[in-house]
Amino acid sequence: MTFSTLRRGGLIATAIASLMASPAFAKVTVLGWPGGPEETALRAAADAYNAKPDVTDANKVELLFFNRDGFWDKLQADLAAGSKAFDANLLATYSIGRYAPFMEPVELSDEAKAVYGDSVLTTMQYEGKQFGVPTDLSLHFMYYRNDLIEALLKDDAAKAKFAEISEKHLGRKLEPKNPDEWTWDDYAATALYFTQAVNPDSPTRYGTVLQLKNLLFNMMVFQSLPRSYGGNWMDESGKVTVNSDAFRKGLEIYKLLYDAGATPRDSLSYEFAEANAAYASGQVAAMMQWNAAASDLTSKEKSPAVAEVTETIAPPAGPEGRFTHIHGLGFGLNKNAENKDGARAFIKWLSSKDAALIYARNNGAPALTPDVVKEVAADRPDLVKLGAFASKYGYVMNGGTSAKALSVYELQAKEFTGYWSGQQSLDDALGKTEKGMTDLLK
C-alpha cells in the first residue's frame, strides 16, 4: 500500500466521519418536533434567523429531528445522559418539571409579554422560572354540526323529544340551545338526542365521540369538564383534591354517554385519529377535540361529509364557567449545551414579534395576543380563535407542570378508564387516583 493510497483513505475516512458527526459540529443545534406543521414552521423560523446579518456563522441554527414515536421518552433518556447533541430542545407544558433538572431557565425578548400574554407564557414556566418560549399552543374546541343543530332548533316536535330524552337520562327537561350557550348537561342531552340507540329517528348514529383510550392525552381532553365544575388537582396548600364532586360529575357524564351508546362502543380504544375519523364520517353530531383537528375537519378534500357544516366553539360551561386545557410546545435550553450563548440568542429571538409572525405564517400554532394576531388573521383565521380561547378560557391544573405531571395523567387514565369500562366503581377510581396522586405530588 503506497503512502498516497493511505492518505486518500485517510481523507475519505475523515470526510465520512465529518458527515456522520455533522450535528455535533452544528453552530446551534435545535431539536424540534418532527413531521408536522411545527417542523415546517421551525424550519422557516430557523432560515429567517440564519439570514439575519447579525448572526455569525458560529451561531447559525441547524435543526435536528428524531422520530415522533416515543419522542418524549427518548428526549428524557438523552437529557438524563447529559447529551450534547443539541443545544436547544423541544419541551411541553406537561413535561417541563420532568426535564427542568437537565435544562436552564431562559430569557425571553422584551416583546414576549406583548406577543403571547401572561397565561400563554405560564405554559412554559416551572417553579416561577421561564424555561422556554411557547411556540405552539394546543387547546380544545367543541366541534359540532351546525346543520343538525339548526334543524333541531327549528323543529317543535324535535324539541319535545329532546326534553323527553333529557328528562329520562339527566333527570330534568332541557331545551335545545345554541351550542355557544351549552352547559355540559346541554351537551350531554344533545349527544343523547342525536344517538340512534336513544332516539331511533336521529340522523346520526352517535351524538358524540369520546376518546377514552387509556392514554394521558385523553385525560387532558376530559379534564375541562370537571374544571368547569371547580375541579383541580390540588388546592393552594398542596392537598390533592381530585376526589371531589367536580371530578365525580365529569366522570359520571362520560359514563352516562358511554353506557347509553352515545359514543361508539370501541371508544375505549379511541384517541385523536379514531375520534376524527368517526366525526368526519358524518355519523357524529358533536365532539370535544384538539384544535389541531380543525384544519382536517373543515377541509372539503379531507372531510367532505362534514367540512361545510362544522363549527368550532369553546368547550361548554359549568357552574364555574368555560374552561379549556392548554399546553404549549416550546423551545428551551439544554443544560449541557455546547453553544449556550448561541442557543440563548436564538431562543430570545424566537420570542420576538417578528419570529412569532414568521412562525405563524408557516403553519405554526402560536397563541398570540389580539394586537399581534390581527397581522396574520387574513392568512390564519384559526389563530384568532386560538389566541382568544387561550386567554379567556385557558387553564393549567395546579401541579400540571410538576415533575410528575405525566405520571399523574397516566394514573388518571388507568383509573378513570377502569371506571368507564365498568371494571371498578366510581368511589374506587377516585380513591385510587387520590392516593396515587398524593404519592406522586408529595
Binding site: 383510550k213 370501541d266 375505549l268 369500562s421 371494571q423
Partner: protein
C-alpha cells in the same frame, strides 16, 4: 480413557473463547449488573449515575402492585392461548395442505407473508381495519346485519388481540410443522399403510409421535413470544381500559418511561428473569431426566 469432550479445554480453546466471553461480559454482564443495582435502589432519571441503595423496597412495591399481577395474568393467558391456537392451526394446515404444497411450493411464500410484517404495523393495520367508520369489517357488519360490533371494547379486546396474534404467527408454526412432516421417512408411512393402519391411526400413532419434539419446541417458542408480547398490543389498545390489556412487557415499559419508576420497572424485569430462568431450568432438567430414562 478420556474422550475428547472430557478433556480440559486447551489453551487455544481458551484463547479463542476470549472474544465471546468479553462480548457477553460487556453486552450482557454489565447491563445485568447495573439492573441488579437499580432494582435495589431508589433511582430516577436525575440520579441514574448515583442511585441510592434502599434494599428490597422496589421488589415489595412490585409484589404488592395489583397491576403487576394483572399484567402477569394477561401475559400468561395470552401466551398460552395464542401458542395453543397457533400450533393447532399450524399443525392442521401443515398436514391438510401437505399434498398441495408438495405440488405447488410457491404457495409457501404466500402463506409466510404475515411473518414479513412488523408486529407494530400489524397492530396499526388492525386499528384501522376494525375501526367502525373506516374499517371494512365493521362496514360489512353494519351493512349486512345493521350491527356495530365492538372489537376493542373491554369485553372483546382480549380475544381480538388473541386472533390478531394468531393470524400473524400461525404461519411460523405451520412452517416448523411442514418441515417436520416432510422429514418423516416415507418408508415408515408406507409400512404402516401396508400393516393396514387407518389414516387416523397413522396420524395418531406414527406421524404425531415423530413430530412431537417439533411440536414441543413450537409451543415453547410461541408461548415465550406471546408471553412477552408488546408491539401489536401496545399499538392496538395500549394498556387497555383500566390496564386490562397490559402485558408484563407493557407494565415494565410504562413503569420505566411513563411513571419514571425506574427501580420498580427493573425489579419487575428481574422477577420476570428469575421466574423465566427457573421455568426453563426446570424444563431442561425434566428433558434431561426423560432422556436418561430412555
Amino acid at each position: 480413557m478420556t474422550t475428547p469432550s472430557q478433556r480440559a479445554p486447551s489453551s487455544e480453546f481458551r484463547l479463542l473463547a476470549v472474544p465471546l466471553v468479553l462480548f457477553l461480559l460487556v453486552f450482557l454482564g454489565f447491563p445485568a449488573l447495573v439492573n441488579l443495582v437499580y432494582s435495589v435502589s431508589e433511582v430516577s432519571f436525575e440520579t441514574l449515575r448515583s442511585p441510592e441503595i434502599t434494599g428490597f423496597a422496589n421488589f415489595t412495591a412490585v409484589w404488592t402492585d395489583s397491576s403487576f399481577w394483572q399484567a402477569s395474568w394477561f401475559s400468561f393467558r395470552f401466551g398460552l392461548l395464542t401458542a395453543l391456537l397457533e400450533c393447532a392451526l399450524g399443525l392442521f394446515l401443515a398436514i391438510f395442505l401437505s399434498p398441495l404444497i408438495e405440488k405447488r411450493s410457491w404457495l409457501m411464500a404466500i402463506l409466510m407473508l404475515p411473518l414479513m410484517v412488523a408486529p407494530a404495523l400489524i397492530g396499526l393495520m388492525y386499528r384501522f381495519v376494525l375501526h367502525e367508520f373506516v374499517g371494512p369489517v365493521p362496514y360489512y357488519l353494519w351493512t349486512w346485519f345493521g350491527a356495530s360490533f365492538s372489537f376493542l371494547g373491554p369485553a372483546s379486546a382480549f380475544w381480538t388481540l388473541v386472533v390478531v396474534e394468531t393470524l400473524q404467527w400461525t404461519p411460523f408454526a405451520f412452517l416448523l410443522f411442514h418441515m417436520a412432516y416432510q422429514a418423516i421417512p416415507k418408508e415408515i408411512i408406507e409400512a404402516s399403510a401396508m400393516d393396514g393402519a387407518h389414516y387416523r391411526h397413522r396420524l395418531w400413532y406414527v406421524e404425531l409421535p415423530l413430530m412431537a419434539p417439533t411440536i414441543v419446541v413450537a409451543l415453547l417458542i410461541r408461548f415465550i413470544d406471546g408471553f412477552r408480547v408488546f408491539d401489536n398490543v401496545y399499538v392496538l389498545t395500549g394498556s387497555g381500559a383500566g390496564g386490562s390489556t397490559a402485558s408484563l412487557s407493557i407494565y415494565i415499559y410504562e413503569a420505566f418511561f411513563k411513571q419514571g419508576a425506574i427501580g420498580k420497572a427493573v425489579a419487575a424485569s428481574v422477577i420476570l428473569f428469575a421466574v423465566s430462568f427457573a421455568v426453563l431450568y426446570g424444563l431442561n432438567a425434566l428433558a434431561a431426566r426423560r432422556k436418561g430414562a430412555r
